[in-house]
């Protein structure tokens, strides 16, 4: 079963994560771009700073000890730096003096001799290609771009390098590039100025580590905020759905048959239409039940009244005939008492009296049968409009004790059917001393349970006479046991029936008559079904038992005795008879008596 709250929360979280995830990705990309720009700017600034220092420093006069403090300025910021002399410049000034002259030339360009060689004095790193182009005698910027990378291998001489930095000699282009040195990726920036080539570099993994560090710094609070938002959303959704929860509780706590209007949720705009619809439905159900109830009451009145008239008059006639018969017998016996004046009544008159008495007796039996059928029909009609029947039958009273109901049904059946007291017996394997079993109750009112069991017993007594009454077994065996599952012959049915945690009470009524085959068992609970139409009964008894079983959450099962024995492991194919099993869930409160 899906939870509306969970569903709502999932959608809210998905929306929130999508929205804030997009924002976070955007922020991360922007931050990474900015950070890379800043780090690149730092490489440029470092290279320029070194270039400025080198220009003032006269690199060809410097000893290795002098280079140390100079490059430490950039090295302490974590930037690797390499300073090298461009070979061609060195060649134009082969001697240290020439180197100095070249340096002076550059300085002169910067200090006012620009007019003499303006193209050789780059103002910025971007001008370096122009400088190279001027040196090779070409003015085509495109050509400069094509040959825009630095000196060829062997073109330069390394003057100094920061500690731990790899050699950046090689085909490094001017400006930015990425290379791998010593198995590690580097981001490099190469600047050529005043005849000196300066390469500054950062390790890319360090840069990425820095970026990831920033990202974690941003993502962690975001994730924590998202989790906190989910908790807040859970609380908010729970609080917001409280009217719905109240409505659910009110509906779930209603006793069966309560059709009073629903009170919860009327003030909530979203719930009001639903509550209104439920209340309208309840009103319609209430009216329908009342209509059914009135109908069954009126039908009871209209059918019972003429039946009462017929029955009463038949009884009056029987009493009158019995009285007349007594007088006739008295008159017949008078001559024997010594009165020779009065002779006995003619035989034909006695025969007529007997015929009248027999006719009235049969009419009385017909009336009894009609009354029985009528009562069964009325009970069935009441069971069909369930809540009314529950009330009428005392359904809201205490649950019925299975054992007591069985005893009472046995007693009533034995009273109604004279042979019942001899034929109704306990099953041989029935434990009559099991106090725990005898205390178990089912969720049905006792009158209904007794009525169901009586129907089964009367059926067994009426139809359970063996074909050969002389040799067959005519007893009807009763049994009661506690089972854990509602075992059904149909596997689908079994799966569809949820198991009762307290188990089931299984009532069995077994007869040894001709029984029913499997096909008949399947249809025997249909209303007005009878195996033989001249047979006793109205065909409603088993339908009533099944309806009662359903109203108590149980099942009625009919199966041939041979099949029952086979299931019990007592293969006896020749045996005939019918087994009626009525399984009802045990009432939880009385499930485990001491």
């Amino acid at each position: 079963m899906r939870s509306l709250r969970v569903r709502l929360l999932v959608w809210l979280c998905l929306a929130l994560c999508t929205l804030w995830g997009g924002v976070a990705a955007w922020m991360f990309a922007d931050m990474r771009h900015e950070l890379r720009s800043v780090l690149d700017d730092r490489l440029i600034a470092s290279a320029r700073m070194v270039a400025g220092i080198v220009h003032q420093f006269k690199p060809h006069n410097a000893s290795p000890e002098d280079w140390g403090p100079m490059l430490n300025v950039v090295a302490r910021d974590g930037v690797a730096c390499e300073v090298s002399m461009i070979r061609s410049e060195v060649q134009t000034a082969p001697a240290p003096g020439a180197m100095e002259a070249a340096a002076d030339e550059g300085t002169g360009a910067a200090t006012g001799k620009a007019d003499a060689r303006p193209a050789l004095i780059p103002a910025s790193p971007l001008d370096v290609p122009r400088l190279r182009a001027a040196k090779t005698g070409s003015t085509d910027p495109g050509g400069a771009a094509e040959s825009g990378h630095g000196a060829e291998p062997g073109d330069s001489q390394v003057l100094a390098r920061t500690a731990g930095a790899p050699s950046f000699q090689g085909p490094l282009p001017l400006g930015f590039s990425s290379i791998t040195k010593g198995g590690k990726p580097w981001r490099t920036y190469v600047l050529e100025e005043h005849g000196v080539r300066i390469a500054t570099a950062d390790r890319i993994d360090v840069r990425e580590g820095l970026i990831h560090g920033f990202a974690y710094t941003i993502i962690l609070p975001f994730v924590l905020a998202l989790l906190a938002s989910m908790v807040l959303m859970w609380w908010g959704v729970t609080r917001g759905l409280r009217p719905l929860e109240s409505l659910r509780q009110e509906l779930s706590q209603r006793p069966p048959g309560d059709d009073s209007p629903v009170a919860q949720g009327r003030q909530v705009r979203e719930l009001a239409p639903l509550v209104q619809t439920i209340n309208h439905l309840l009103q319609r159900v209430h009216r329908a039940i009342e209509r059914e109830r009135r109908w069954s009451d009126d039908a009871a009145h209209e059918l019972r009244t003429p039946l009462t008239a017929v029955k009463t008059h038949v009884q009056v006639a029987q009493m009158a005939v019995a009285h007349a018969g007594a007088q006739m017998v008295a008159l017949t016996e008078q001559p024997l008492a010594g009165n020779p004046g009065i002779v006995s009544r003619p035989v034909s008159q006695t025969t007529q009296w007997q015929m009248t008495r027999q006719a009235l007796e049969q009419a009385g039996q017909g009336v009894e049968h009609l009354q029985h059928t009528l009562e069964q029909l009325l009970l069935l009609a009441r069971l069909d409009c369930h809540p009314a029947a529950e009330e009428d039958c005392g359904f809201r009273s205490e649950p019925a004790c299975g054992w007591e109901a069985l005893e009472k049904a046995r007693e009533l059946t034995a009273t109604a059917i004279p042979s019942g007291s001899q034929r109704l017996r306990w099953s041989p394997d029935q434990d009559l001393e099991d106090a725990r079993l005898q205390a178990l109750c089912v969720a049905l009112p006792q009158p209904l349970l007794v009525s169901a069991l009586r129907n089964l017993m009367e059926n067994a007594l009426h139809y359970g006479q063996p074909a050969d009454a002389g040799s067959g077994e005519s007893s009807v065996l009763l049994g009661l046991r506690h089972v854990s599952h509602l075992v059904q012959p149909d596997a689908d049915k079994l799966q569809a029936t949820p198991a009762n945690p307290c188990g089931y009470l299984e009532f069995t009524v077994i007869d040894h008559g001709p029984g029913l085959n499997s096909e008949d068992c399947a249809v025997a609970t249909q209303r007005f079904w009878r195996k033989q139409h001249q047979a006793h009964g109205s065909g409603l008894g088993l339908a009533i038992v099944q309806r009662i079983a359903q109203s108590g959450g149980g099942e009625l099962e009919l199966l041939p005795l041979a099949q029952w024995r086979q299931q019990s492991g007592q293969a006896e194919p020749a045996v005939t008879g019918l087994v009626a099993r009525l399984c009802l869930p045990v009432k939880p409160c009385a499930a485990l008596p001491d």
């Binding site: 009871a300 009462t308 029955k311 008059h313 009884q315 009056v316 009158a320 009336v367 009330e391 005392g394």
Partner: protein, 224 residues
């Protein structure tokens, strides 16, 4: 024993009346609530059998009205409606017993006897008056160990007197118990039956209260 039967269905009414008469009851039948009111004002009854489905007034409503007026007459409600709620409502309204149609006439008679017995403050239907033993349920009277043959009217007279021990019953009350209000009865008919009863059970069985009526005689041994 005078029974007022309030039943609107003529077929049922005639059957119940005949059946009760065969069992020694005197029965008057009315078909509606207004006739029942009139019958109670004009005649004396020992018990009432009331059907609930009356044409002019609901039977339970009529019963509640009777009880509010202080009528103590035992009432057995007869109805075709057998729901538990309706039965409870009937008993709470003031009914003394409840019988659902269709019923057995013997059962109806037995219940009426039980109502009358309770109304008279007795616990059993067996009464001993001196040397006379009366079994009201079986309709038998014995005097000195011998069965006494009583006619239907004599039985009705004896029942009426036994029903009100110590109370004086007027001639009209006894006439109602014996014949009901619808029959034309000879003026000295009750006196004739009193005479016959004294002859069969003893002269001190019925005591005459001059100018008022008759009552059960103070027979030695008393009843129980």
């Amino acid at each position: 024993m005078h029974v007022l039967l309030v039943e609107d269905n003529a077929l049922v009414a005639s059957g119940v009346k005949a059946g009760l008469q065969l069992q020694g009851f005197g029965v008057d039948v009315v078909g509606c609530a207004s006739q029942a009111d009139a019958a109670l004002k004009s005649s004396h009854f020992d018990v009432c059998v009331l059907d609930l489905g009356l044409p002019d007034e609901d039977g339970l409503h009529l019963l509640a009205r009777w009880r509010s007026q202080g009528l103590a007459l035992p009432v057995l409600v007869l109805t075709a409606r057998d729901a538990v709620g309706q039965r409870i409502e009937g008993l709470q309204t003031g009914a003394d017993d409840y019988l659902v149609k269709p019923f057995d006439l013997q059962e109806l008679a037995a219940r009426l006897h039980a109502l009358l017995r309770r109304a008279a403050g007795r616990t059993v239907d067996w009464i001993v008056l001196g040397d006379v033993n009366v079994d009201l349920a079986a309709g038998q009277a014995m005097r000195g160990g011998c069965a006494v043959d009583l006619s239907r009217r004599e039985w009705a007279l004896l029942r009426a007197l036994l029903q009100s021990p110590g109370r004086v019953l007027s001639l009209e009350q006894l006439r109602d118990s014996l014949y009901g209000y619808s029959l034309d009865v000879e003026s000295n008919a009750v006196n004739v039956h009193v005479h016959h009863l004294r002859r069969k059970l003893g002269s001190d069985m019925v005591e005459t209260v001059r100018g008022v009526g008759f009552r059960l005689g103070r027979v030695q041994g008393g009843g129980r």
